[in-house]
């Protein structure tokens, strides 16, 4: 649809108050990533300005809630600290991401090959998913020691379930027409897997990976809370003990930045790998 099309979606009849914003937005391109970025930027800035105003007007002390300026200042001051502590967290999150997703996909494949295993263990896996991972972090630590292992394990566990669920769905949600075709061609189970299920599952797996890439950062942080002397989770706790709320917020933003970067990388990979339109049946 474009400008010729009468506004079917009916989006802009009510110009409620925000005329100025409207006027500005008219200057922007009509669509595309530039507009998304600019509009998102305007929105985010308005939140930041509002936050700064609340802090200034009500004189909220910075040790309770820092103002955006305090946070920016903390980032400027602490960027070296944040960067060096991001390294172990990224390492843990990355390893957890690899291991968790690898195991999840392997389990999903075993489910595809053996229906009985799936029937026996898939319901259990779904139930285990409801267990708060954060609660079993201490248990993992006791079992795996003080090194990087328990952090990787928490990150991996957090990745495991969304990917398992999506991979199982993806491997089985193959178009029945394609399966019928493969049957008529007398394809073996492995051939069906290699030529059909694998590709059919990719879009599902990628949408799980996009969830789990942000979750695994959280997993690594929680893992660090139960015992670490480096990493984003460590700095987070330490800033809390030090009453350094600007640094606390800066650290939270760093965590969020890592998650966003991971998300972006997976999204680019997805674009490179999935060159067809998964929605379309041809």
């Amino acid at each position: 649809m474009n400008q010729d099309v009468v506004n079917i979606a009916g989006q802009s009849e009510t110009a409620t108050g925000v005329r100025l914003v409207h006027r500005i937005t008219r200057l922007l391109p009509d669509e595309g990533p530039l507009r998304v970025a600019l509009m998102g930027g305007i929105g985010l800035s308005s939140i930041v300005v509002f936050w700064q105003l609340v802090c200034s007007v009500f004189g909220i002390p910075h040790y309770l809630v820092p103002s955006p300026i305090d946070v920016v200042e903390a980032i400027r001051r602490d960027w070296a600290l944040l960067a060096s502590n991001a390294v172990p967290t990224i390492t843990e999150a990355f390893l957890g991401f690899l291991i968790g997703n690898f195991v999840a996909i392997a389990v999903a494949i075993s489910f595809v090959y053996n229906k009985i295993i799936q029937e026996m263990y898939y319901p259990g896996a779904i139930l285990i998913k409801t267990i708060p991972i954060v609660a079993i972090a201490p248990v993992l630590k006791i079992m795996l020691g003080n090194g990087i292992e328990p952090k990787v394990a928490v990150a991996a566990l957090i990745c495991f379930f969304p990917t398992l669920v999506n991979a199982v769905r993806g491997f089985t949600a193959v178009s029945p027409n394609l399966l019928e075709l493969m049957h008529v061609l007398s394809a073996s189970k492995t051939e069906v897997f290699r030529y059909v299920r694998l590709y059919g599952a990719l879009p599902y797996v990628f949408s799980a990976l996009k969830i789990s890439v942000t979750m695994c950062v959280l997993g690594a942080i929680v893992g660090e809370w139960i015992g670490a002397n480096k990493g984003i989770g460590y700095v987070l706790i330490q800033s809390m003990y030090d009453f350094d709320t600007p640094r606390l917020f800066a650290t939270i933003l760093t965590a969020s930045g890592i998650a966003i970067a991971g998300f972006a990388i997976v999204s680019v990979l997805e674009k490179l790998v999935i060159t067809w339109d998964p929605g379309e049946t041809v």
Binding site: N146, G227, A228, N229, Y234, I237, D242, F243
Partner: protein, 308 residues
Amino acid sequence: SAASKDVTLQLAWLPNAASAGEIIALNKGFFDEVGLNVTILPGGPSANTIQEVLSGTAEIAIGYAPQIMYAADKGLPIISFGAAFQKAPLTFFSLGEKNITSVADWKGMRVGANQSSAPQIAVLLDNAGLTLDDITHVQGRVPALLQDQVDIVATWPTNVADIALIVDHPGGYNAQSIWDNGLQFQSNYYIALKETLQNEGDMLNAFMAAVDKGWAWTADNQAEAVDILVEFAPALQVDKETPSLAVIIEEYIYTDETLESGFANVSRDRWQQTLDRYAALGEVKDSLTADDVHDGSVLAAVPRTKRD
């Protein structure tokens, strides 16, 4: 009591025997008697309870010496006006077969302690002529000690769950407390905003009187006190809290010094020494004095139980 005043007390940790006196004072109505309507807020692992005082959520909090020093160092407007524990209990345990009999033996060892305990460890090491670089500081608790993931582990001797595992160990155990190794601060300080101390001294006085009575009653009626504790915090277990409370009262609440100076007594000299040690390590500013962290006016104004 006519119009009682609403006061919120923030505990330093999950409710347990270490805050028995306060919980008893609430349960037995000692706060009501002095005209205070107290609400007790529990603490937990992911909270810095002094923040509650700063934000106004709580008028009074119970906190630890390092927290107070860091807050004072940051210029935050809080002050301590008493301390239930006469000694900070933090003690470093190791298994007998490791033969660690003094801090000097820590060299090359893996020390399991909280993230926030690093300065305490540094002071102890410094006193023994070592530095943090001579050990590996990891976060570990007693199971890690038994699994040989650490050589030394820090805990409170009042923590019966921890101690039980160590005491049962066939090879015996060794222990070094911070108190005996040159770091003498107290614990479970009562904290308020400086402003509160100035404007509502009477309220703090009343609070102190009630807490004093609470701990005294607790000391005299330990079994009943444990029952009340478990009622307040239902996940507590009587068989763990009973010995814990006994140790707390014997060793930490009532000591020789309280016999002389009364419950919750605070030594300004020890505060000053501790601040000096921390300043020497660069943890806090040199210019901090005991007056920045402690105010004696409440203790001076309130007559308190003297016993040991």
